[in-house]
């Protein structure tokens, strides 16, 4: 029988000692025109690719301990925890699929998006050299790998979302989203007669259940679902992905959605799909929903499936230039 792994991660000072940021590093926030975020972004990639967020670890351990000891579901969840500790200790990628590289940048007035984009691209190239990222960018038809995670012609990868805000700090969130889980995402157009889903919350529920059944273990369950109700085809998927950035256990600000999330998680965990589709009680770790507005004629339910290895992290650069990671 597999021994029960206790998730002791390396301490903050050890993580700090392995940082690519020089000790006492401060970004020059007084001179936004000359601001260089290349090294902080490289450190953000290192931490995201090799260190699992604590809320995900806690959820995996909770799931494991709810499975029957010695069962395949229990052992699989235990292996996931072991893997997290190994990657953390070795500072190597948690998963060989370091995914599509997605950034969300929120910044005050005066930050050049063009400059930040160029710096992020440099950091991604460097992280690929340091094997924290696998070269995951191939020309669609020929399959030719660019080798450095760059889409050289259209700059479509890495993916960057920018938003100017009123706060003085810069916040950059990063998500590494594997191809296997991206492939099991789904968009439903309600009404959908094939699953008997109408244009109401019951219909949304049916769409989510259907997507999870179809995904089975192929998205590396237990998954985390980001769901957007409404929007157009593009904004719906975009918002569904952003929902995955929310930490597990943080309530939805919309009480109606929060209640729905809790109920659907409990329901989905009775499907018996379990970790990796082996069977078991842990099929999803969380479902995060957002209700958007929509065109009267359109009713989309966009579902992004994130694998259990939910690699996401947020870096904040304060107005004083101090860099912190969460």
């Amino acid at each position: 029988m597999a021994e029960c792994t206790i998730p002791n991660m390396t301490t903050a000072d050890v993580v700090e000692s392995k940082s690519v940021l020089p000790a006492g590093f401060k970004a020059d926030m007084a001179n936004l025109k000359g601001l260089d975020l290349t090294t902080p972004v490289l450190e953000l990639i290192r931490r995201t690719s090799t260190r699992m967020p604590q809320d995900i670890i806690d959820a995996l351990v909770k799931g494991r301990d709810a499975e029957e000891e010695g069962s395949r579901a229990f052992n699989t969840l235990n292996d996931m925890v072991k893997n997290i500790l190994l990657a953390d200790g070795h500072v190597t990628p948690l998963c060989q699929d370091t995914g599509t590289v997605l950034f969300w940048v929120r910044h005050p007035y005066g930050v050049s998006q063009k400059a930040v984009k160029a710096q992020v691209r440099e950091a991604v190239k460097e992280a690929t050299k340091k094997v924290w990222l696998r070269p995951n960018c191939v020309e669609s038809l020929s399959g030719k790998n660019s080798g450095n995670n760059m889409d050289p012609f259209h700059e479509g990868h890495p993916i960057l979302h920018f938003e100017e805000w009123d706060k003085p700090e810069i916040e950059i969130s990063l998500m590494l989203k594997g191809g296997g889980c991206e492939n099991v995402g789904a968009q439903y157009r309600l009404p959908d007669v094939t699953i008997g889903a109408g244009r109401d919350i019951k219909g949304v529920r049916k769409a989510i259940i259907d997507a999870v059944v179809k995904a089975q273990g192929q998205g590396c369950s237990p998954g985390i679902l980001g769901v957007a109700i409404g929007g157009d085809r593009v904004s719906g998927y975009e918002h569904s992905k952003e929902q995955i950035l929310r930490k597990l256990g943080v309530p939805n600000p919309d009480p109606k959605m929060d209640a729905f999330e809790k109920e659907i998680v409990a329901d989905l965990n009775t499907l018996g799909i379990g970790p990796m589709g082996y069977g078991g009680n842990t099929t999803v770790l969380g479902v995060h929903m957002e209700e958007m507005y929509r065109h009267p004629a359109s009713f989309y339910v966009s579902i992004s499936y994130m694998c259990w290895s939910s690699r996401r992290r947020t870096m904040t650069i304060s107005s004083m230039g101090e860099v912190s990671f969460d």
């Binding site: 292996d79 893997n83 998963c95 060989q96 995951n136 089975q216 273990g217």
Partner: protein
């Protein structure tokens, strides 16, 4: 727990049943999307001695080139196997492969191929990149690296006690089919709620 070392004979493969836990040893060859399309469409002869009796691993590793020119695997978990469904049965038959490691399971065509040729589908834990890379003892060789890129190349590796579970066997059994049927049944009840 069953310990198996490649090359595997047809008789050994046929003894395995859904649910068997296997520790795999010996040579394993990595191949995924580009490799499978290439094997089915071109049936390259040069791969025959490399693949006979061997296990194919659906995996696109994170690799590191060492200073002495050798390679190391840094992260190497399985990729989703169902994408190889159009090719897998033919590949197994052409090259007399005795096993396929992947995640998520495969469909009917592959299942029939496993029965016909005498081979098994072996499931590894998806996302366990570090854990599984630790069981890779040596990178023996690599083919088509330039043409396919590192995630898609034919990496020949040697593994030691690589942990997998038989989820599809050569008797038509499939854990994935069973789990899907249960989930569909349950989903029906949930949707009526």
């Amino acid at each position: 727990m069953i310990r198996l070392t490649t090359p595997i004979t047809e008789a050994q493969a046929r003894q395995l049943k859904v649910g068997d836990e296997v520790l795999l040893n010996g040579k394993v060859v990595l191949s995924r999307d580009m490799g499978h399309k290439y094997m089915k469409e071109h049936k390259p002869e040069w791969l025959k001695p490399i693949l006979e009796g061997i296990v194919i691993y659906h995996c696109g590793p994170v690799v590191k080139k060492n200073e002495d020119g050798t390679w190391s695997f840094v992260a190497a978990g399985p990729t989703t196997s169902i994408r190889e469904e159009p090719y897998q049965a033919d590949v197994i038959d052409t090259y007399q492969v005795r096993g396929v490691i992947g995640k998520g399971g495969m469909g009917k065509k592959t299942s029939e191929g496993l029965v016909k040729t005498g081979a098994v589908y072996l499931h590894a834990t998806g996302g366990a990149g570090s854990l599984l890379a630790a069981q890779v003892k040596r990178v023996v060789d690599v083919h088509m690296l330039e043409e396919f890129g590192s995630p898609e190349a034919f990496w020949v590796i040697e593994v030691e006690d690589f942990p997998v579970v038989v989820t599809m066997d050569s008797h038509g059994g499939s854990l994935h089919e069973a789990v899907l049927a249960t989930a569909q049944e349950r989903a029906k009840a949930l949707m009526e709620k």
